[in-house]
Symmetry: C2
């Protein structure tokens, strides 16, 4: 860990989250990796930074971060595994490469008007949606073509 610890503390406080060594470490990893990762990958990454954090603590921290709106929990397409990502300002979605799991954050969301229409048609109050796009990134496309 570097001098960023203090900044993390402030950042967490903004979300009403008490700062601890472990939470700073998890936040570090979330910031460093722009995209989605499973709890396991996140845990591995924390360990790699040299910080000692228990696996169940990682889960508890992720749950807390999610409640406070700092991270977003979603699901890797097809699998039943949860993935986590830092919530960006505003509303965004992910484009996920099925080959290498590379993730691109998409800040445009085409659903606002659509939701409104659906709400009118159904009488539902729509509070949100899950949207993930998936496909293959340029590199993985090449690999697939070679086969």
């Amino acid at each position: 860990m570097t001098t960023s610890g203090l900044q993390h503390t402030e950042y967490l406080h903004q979300f009403g989250i008490k700062s601890t060594r472990q939470r700073n470490a998890v936040l570090d990893v979330l910031i460093a990796h722009d995209g989605i990762q499973t709890a396991g990958e996140l845990y591995q990454a924390v360990v790699r930074t040299g910080e000692l954090v228990n696996f169940s603590t990682v889960y508890r921290i992720l749950e807390l971060f999610q409640e406070k709106g700092l991270v977003e929990k979603s699901t890797f397409p097809g699998s039943s595994q949860c993935v986590f990502s830092l919530r960006k300002a505003g509303h965004s979605h992910h484009l996920i490469c099925l080959g290498c799991k590379k993730t691109i954050t998409i800040s445009k969301c085409p659903l606002a008007m659509f939701e409104q229409g659906v709400a009118e048609d159904t009488g539902f109050t729509i509070v949100g949606h899950d949207l993930e796009l998936y496909g293959y990134c340029p590199e993985c496309q090449k690999k697939r073509n070679r086969k």
Copy 2:
């Protein structure tokens, strides 16, 4: 079970699936329930019809049905549980009530053009997407307002 067994057999054959007592029973439940359900709910429903089917068989059948394009596997928002639903003709999505889990199938999908734009921007080949809307149905809204 009623006389529908024979119809189910034909239906399954259309998908290249051999008919068995257990598969007919699962298909029955899938047809009866318009919307998504977890493997567990589906299993319970099968048991309730009086058919004897093993839990792991249900999983195997659902996996097979999915491979053959008869059912769709997705994820319940927020949770890590898989849910299954009969695949409708064409492309569709679900609007899920967070209160009572009632599901409405939405046959419109606003993403085709959006995907094209994202593909051009990123160089990705986009092969699909997960989209689920969630909110509260009219009944559950009332319940919530009473609190």
